[in-house]
C-alpha cells in the first residue's frame, strides 16, 4: 500500500518532472535522448531565451501584469465578501434568505452566459487613458468586478463568522462600538485564517484565468502570464525547451504559494465544500 502510494505520487509528478528536465535540455537533446533522462548539462539559457523571446516585452512584463491584476482582484474580494458575509452572519433583516440564495445561485451559473453582456457593458464605460476610450484593452474588466462581492468568498466567510461567539460582539457593543467597528475590531481579526484562504484562492484564480484576459487585453505589453504563454505557443512551435521553461516559470509562484500555504488551500475547499 505504502509503496503504491509513493509510486502513484511519482506518477502524478511525472508531468512536472518532464517539464523540468525538458526545460534544461538542448533542443537537439530533446529529440535524441530518452524522454525522462537527465539533461546533459543544465541549459539555463533556455530560460533567458524564453524570458527575452519577444522583441519589445520580456516575460517579466507579463508577470508584473498578472501580479497587479491578481492583487487588485484579491483585495476587492476580501473587502467586499467579508462585508457581505458579516451582514449575512450577524444581522437580521427582510429578504435576507432570498438575497443569500441569490448570491449562492451565482455559484452554479456558468459565468460564460454573462460574457457578451459584460463585454458590452465595459465597452460603454468610458476610460480616458485607453486607445479605445473605453475599458476594452485595459485591465479594468479583470479586477473591478471583484469590488462587488462574490459567492465563494461570501459563503466561505459567512460560515466562519457564524462560529464566532456573539458574546465577543456584545462586549464590544457595550463599550460603545457601532456595527462597523465591531466588524473591524472583532470579526476581521478573528477571521484572519478564513480571509487568508479567500485571498489565496482569488489570487490563484486570477493568476490562472485565461478566457477573460484573452477577451479584454489587446496589446502584448498588457498580457498576463497565461495569455503570454498561449501567445508563445503560437510563436514557438516545436521549441519545447523554451516552452517548458515558460510554463514552469508561470507556474512557479503558485507552486511556491501552495507549498507554503497548503493548509489554507485544503481548508478553503473543505470549509466551503462540506459545511453547506
Amino acid at each position: 500500500m505504502y509503496i503504491s502510494l509513493i509510486v502513484g505520487g511519482l506518477a502524478m509528478m511525472i508531468p512536472f518532472l518532464w517539464m523540468l528536465t525538458t526545460s534544461l535540455k538542448t533542443r537537439a537533446e530533446v529529440f535524441s535522448s530518452p524522454p525522462l533522462s537527465f539533461p546533459s548539462g543544465l541549459h539555463w539559457e533556455n530560460y533567458s531565451r524564453m524570458w527575452f523571446a519577444l522583441p519589445d516585452v520580456t516575460f517579466g512584463t507579463f508577470f508584473q501584469n498578472s501580479i497587479v491584476i491578481a492583487s487588485l482582484a484579491t483585495l476587492g474580494q476580501v473587502v467586499t465578501c467579508s462585508m457581505a458575509a458579516y451582514a449575512f452572519a450577524v444581522f437580521d433583516f427582510r429578504f435576507k434568505r432570498v438575497l443569500f440564495s441569490l448570491v449562492l445561485a451565482t455559484l452554479i451559473i456558468p459565468f460564460q452566459v454573462v460574457l457578451v453582456p459584460n463585454f458590452i457593458l465595459y465597452r460603454y464605460l468610458p476610460w480616458p487613458f485607453s486607445e479605445s476610450g473605453n475599458w476594452i484593452g485595459t485591465n479594468l474588466p479583470l479586477w473591478v468586478w471583484a469590488f462587488f462581492g462574490g459567492a465563494f468568498g461570501t459563503f466561505l466567510l459567512r460560515q466562519f463568522f457564524l462560529t464566532i461567539p456573539s458574546e465577543l460582539a456584545d462586549a464590544a457593543r457595550v463599550d460603545g462600538a457601532n456595527p462597523w467597528q465591531v466588524f473591524l475590531r472583532v470579526y476581521v481579526p478573528l477571521a484572519r485564517p478564513a480571509l487568508a484562504t479567500l485571498a489565496i484562492f482569488q489570487f490563484m484564480w486570477s493568476w490562472n484565468d485565461l478566457l477573460d484576459p484573452l477577451i479584454y487585453l489587446r496589446d502584448l505589453p498588457t498580457y498576463t502570464t497565461t495569455v503570454g504563454l498561449a501567445f508563445f505557443q503560437g510563436q514557438f512551435v516545436g521549441k519545447w525547451p523554451e516552452m517548458m521553461a515558460g510554463a514552469l516559470v508561470s507556474l512557479l509562484p503558485m507552486i511556491i504559494l501552495f507549498v507554503i500555504a497548503q493548509k489554507y488551500f485544503v481548508r478553503g475547499i473543505t470549509l466551503s465544500g462540506l459545511k453547506g
Binding site: 518532464w18 448570491v103 451565482t106 460564460q112 452566459v113 453582456p117 498561449a230 516552452m243
Partner: protein, 315 residues
C-alpha cells in the same frame, strides 16, 4: 442634516444613539440599515454583473448585432440557426461527452485515492503534497506540458513504444483528441475532489469501523457498508461542482488547438461562444449559444439534485 447624518453615524461612536433618537425606529430597523450598507457592493454586483447581464444576454440573443451597427431584432432566428449549425452541434456533443466521461471518472479515481491517502503513515504530508500539486496549476501551462507529452516524439509515445505500441497522434487524431484532453483534465482535477473526499472520510467516526470489525466485516464490506454511504454527501457535492465545471471547459481546448482553431473533434461550447462573439463578432449568435448552455447546465443540475433522495445519505 438628513442624509449626511446617516453617514456620520458611520464614523462617530455616538452615531447609533443619535440615530435612534432621530429615526425613532426599532433596533431591528437600524440593524437592517446597517445590513444594506454592508451588502451594498454585493447587491450592485448582483444587479449589474450577474442578474442584469443574464437577462441582457437573453435580449441580445434575439438580435443580430456586430457591435458596429445597431442591433436588429430577429426573434428566435439565432436559436433556429444554431440548431442547424454543424459546428455548434459538434461543440454540444463534445462538451457532453467530455462531461459524461470526465466527471464520473474523476470522482471514482478521487474516491480511491482519498481512501488510500487517508492513513496515518510516515511522510503522508509529503505524499499528499505531491498528489495535490496539480490543484494550483493553470490549465494553460499544464495543457502546454501535456501537448508535449502527447507530441509524436513525446513521453507517451516513447513509453508505449516500450510495449511495441505504434506512436499515436493523440490530440491531433480526431477520435483520440477528446479522450486525450479528458485524461489531462482528470489528472488536473483530481486533487480538488480528493481534498473534499478526505475531509469527508475524516468525518466518519472510527467507532463505526471498530463496531463493524467486531461483527467480522472485512475491508471491502466496511467500505461498501460504512465508507461509501457516509461519503455520499461529499460525492454529491463534488459531483455538482464537477458537472458545472466540466461544461465550462475552455483553456485546455484553446491551448491544444492553438495556433489554429480547434477542429470539430475538440471544439467545446465555451470555445464556440468565444469564437462566435469575440472572433466573429456575432454577439446575438454568441448570446443565444450561451443561453442554451445556461439552460442545459440548469436542467442538468436540477435533474442531478432530483436524484439526491435516492442515493445520498445525510447523517
Amino acid at each position: 442634516m438628513t442624509s449626511p447624518a446617516r453617514l456620520g453615524g458611520l464614523a462617530e461612536p455616538a452615531g447609533p444613539r443619535l440615530g435612534r433618537a432621530r429615526s425613532g425606529r426599532s433596533p431591528r430597523a437600524r440593524e437592517a440599515r446597517w445590513a444594506w450598507l454592508f451588502l451594498a457592493p454585493t447587491i450592485i454586483g448582483l444587479a449589474v454583473l450577474s442578474a442584469g447581464p443574464i437577462l441582457a444576454a437573453l435580449g441580445i440573443s434575439l438580435t443580430k448585432w456586430d457591435m458596429l451597427t445597431p442591433p436588429q431584432v430577429v426573434g428566435v432566428d439565432n436559436y433556429v440557426a444554431l440548431l442547424g449549425d454543424d459546428r455548434f452541434l459538434k461543440a454540444l456533443r463534445n462538451t457532453t461527452f467530455y462531461t459524461l466521461v470526465s466527471v464520473p471518472l474523476g470522482l471514482v479515481l478521487a474516491l480511491g485515492l482519498a481512501t488510500a491517502l487517508n492513513q496515518q503513515i510516515r511522510g503522508i504530508a509529503w505524499i499528499r503534497t505531491a498528489y495535490f500539486l496539480p490543484l494550483v496549476t493553470s490549465a494553460t501551462a499544464i495543457a502546454l506540458v501535456w501537448l508535449w507529452i502527447y507530441s509524436p516524439t513525446g513521453l507517451l509515445n516513447s513509453f508505449l513504444g516500450i510495449f511495441g505500441i505504434a506512436p499515436q497522434r493523440w490530440v491531433a487524431d480526431p477520435t483520440l483528441a477528446m479522450p486525450s484532453i479528458i485524461a489531462m483534465s482528470v489528472w488536473q482535477g483530481l486533487p480538488g475532489n480528493v481534498i473534499i473526499f478526505l475531509a469527508g472520510l475524516q468525518g466518519i467516526p472510527a467507532e463505526y469501523y471498530d463496531a463493524a470489525s467486531v461483527d467480522g466485516a472485512g475491508r471491502r464490506s466496511r467500505f461498501r457498508k460504512i465508507t461509501l454511504p457516509l461519503l455520499t454527501p461529499s460525492i454529491f457535492f463534488t459531483g455538482v461542482l464537477a458537472l458545472i465545471g466540466a461544461f465550462q471547459v475552455f483553456d485546455q481546448v484553446y491551448v491544444m488547438a492553438n495556433p489554429g482553431k480547434p477542429s470539430e473533434a475538440t471544439i467545446t461550447l465555451v470555445y464556440f461562444i468565444y469564437e462566435a462573439g469575440f472572433r466573429n463578432f456575432k454577439m446575438g449568435y454568441a448570446s443565444a449559444a450561451s443561453w442554451i448552455m445556461f439552460l442545459i447546465v440548469a436542467v442538468a443540475t436540477i435533474l442531478y439534485f432530483r436524484t439526491q433522495n435516492r442515493w445520498v445519505h445525510y447523517q
